[in-house]
């Protein structure tokens, strides 16, 4: 249970960082999404289940503070955590370029869920504009920040791969 609580604390710290420091780190209006990076890192390291749960919790925090649609961030980050888990154990090799690229892709997935939702609600901003002004800059920014975020959170990634949720789940199998 403790590792799971520790993971929630890590995502809580990431959220506080996102809410307080990240707005001051905007470059031409583009802001990184630290909660998304941490979610994907947990997915890459511990698999889909952990990624989804961490993403769900992180998305909830973000939605409650800034989201106009509470629930959208929860869904999008759960999906990102899930997909990140699908490539579990193939990502973390010595070369950090691979997780950077994976976070780049994860950002596109996350942002396209937002785009789809906004289109459902009648927002008709051209996709090219969304890609050039929001999605691409954020994806690049997130990718660049990945080594730093990984360096900060890896000391808290204390439990072995496949635990704890998998272990708990196995108990009930």
């Amino acid at each position: 249970m403790w590792p799971l609580i520790q993971s929630c604390l890590v995502i809580l710290v990431a959220f506080v960082f996102q809410a307080t420091i990240v707005p001051h780190m905007a470059i031409s209006g583009a802001k990184p999404d630290v909660v998304l990076i941490v979610t994907a890192l947990y997915g890459f390291t511990y698999g889909s289940r952990n990624g989804m749960l961490i993403g769900f919790f992180g998305g909830l925090l973000g939605d409650l503070l800034a989201g106009s649609y509470v629930g959208l961030g929860m869904a999008s980050k759960s999906i990102v955590g899930f997909f990140a888990g699908l490539v579990q154990r193939t990502i973390f090799v010595e070369n950090l370029l691979i997780p950077m690229f994976a976070i780049f892709v994860a950002t596109w997935i996350n942002e396209f869920i937002y785009v789809a939702f906004l289109f459902l609600f009648g927002e008709i901003t051209p996709v090219e504009m969304l890609v050039s002004k929001i999605i691409l800059p954020s994806a690049i920014y997130n990718a660049i920040l990945t080594p730093f975020v990984y360096g900060a959170v890896r000391r808290f990634m204390v439990f072995k791969q496949g635990t704890p949720v998998t272990r708990i789940a196995r108990k009930y199998d």
């Binding site: 506080v16 996102q18 809410a19 307080t20 420091i21 990240v22 707005p23 001051h24 905007a26 209006g29 583009a30 802001k31 999404d33 698999g47 889909s48 289940r49 989804m52 749960l53 769900f56 998305g59 925090l61 973000g62 409650l64 503070l65 800034a66 989201g67 106009s68 649609y69 509470v70 629930g71 959208l72 929860m74 869904a75 759960s78 999906i79 899930f82 888990g85 699908l86 490539v87 579990q88 154990r89 193939t90 942002e111 937002y114 906004l118 927002e123 901003t125 504009m129 969304l130 002004k133 929001i134 954020s138 789940a169």
Partner: protein
């Protein structure tokens, strides 16, 4: 990759998405005092002091950086502003005469001055943390007399509207948020349209201006007062660009807002209570 084939993971993902959509629906349908709105207010109250501290700590660093980066521009801008001040001073003097004449005439016809609402000054403590939504947190709340739906101005122009209030903090949705929509009037022509944000763009979109309109670059846009959500006559911005699409019924009009939404430090909350209530949902 054994997890790839794990059916349980798909079920968990499905369950999480269903829960998220349920929360989304409840958030839309519940009233201001519903559990999710209360949770939002709790979060705002909890995070607002940390945001205020971070903003105070980072502002000197940001200012120093801006100074270094924009030093050349600042000198040029200073020179330009001095010239502009000189021009404006002479304009103010001539307008003063017009104002006096106007008040004399108004008193003659018994016109009731609707402007001049009281304002509450507030400091912006939290800037938007997401790329998709534009809202800020201010350091004043219910304890200071702030209420939901009150308009917020800065530098003489409309900034947005209070959408959520806790005891000591409030959330303000900015004009450039994609969800925002304000009824406005073009001062010169008197036409009414709706001003909308366009996803992080500084410029705003003025919609529903007829193809036959004589609207032109430089026209002043103010709030129309229709719907009574905002008082009439708050300055919104100037028309920056007018174009006509081949098939549309309306002109495409872009408006330069009066305020820089990326650089808000202090704002004024107008003590105006709309004659409008959000019953049931938000």
């Amino acid at each position: 990759m054994p997890e790839f084939f794990s059916r349980r993971n798909y079920l968990i993902l499905f369950a999480l998405i269903v829960i998220s959509m349920l929360i989304l629906t409840i958030h839309f349908r519940e009233g201001e005092n519903g559990p999710i709105h209360r949770a939002e207010r709790f979060m705002m109250t909890a995070i607002s002091p940390i945001q205020a501290s971070a903003t105070s700590a980072l502002t000197p660093v940001k200012d120093g950086w801006d100074y270094l980066v924009h030093f050349g521009n600042l000198k040029r801008e200073n020179r330009r502003l001095r010239q502009e001040v000189a021009k404006l001073q002479s304009k103010v003097l001539s307008l003063q005469g017009l104002k006096n004449e106007n008040s004399r005439l108004q008193s003659l016809i018994g016109f009731k001055d609707q402007a001049g609402y009281d304002t509450i000054p507030a400091r912006v403590t939290g800037m938007p943390s997401s790329n998709w939504w534009s809202s800020v947190i201010i350091d004043k709340g219910l304890d200071d007399g702030i209420k939901r739906n009150m308009p917020v101005i800065a530098g003489g122009g409309l900034v947005g509207q209070v959408v959520d209030v806790s005891q000591r903090a409030a959330k303000v949705i900015l004009l450039n948020d994609v969800q925002s929509g304000v009824s406005v009037q073009v001062q010169r022509t008197g036409e009414v349209g709706v001003i909308k944000g366009q996803l992080r763009e500084q410029q705003l979109l003025l919609k529903y201006i007829s193809k036959d309109s004589t609207i032109q670059k430089g026209d002043i846009v103010v709030t129309s007062g229709l719907g009574e959500l905002f008082p009439k006559g708050i300055y919104v911005g100037k028309v920056a660009n007018v174009s006509l699409s081949s098939y549309g019924l309306y002109k495409d009009v872009e408006v330069d807002p009066a305020v820089d939404f990326t650089n808000l430090d202090e704002v004024l909350v107008v003590k105006y209570e709309p004659n409008f209530s959000f019953k049931g949902g938000s």
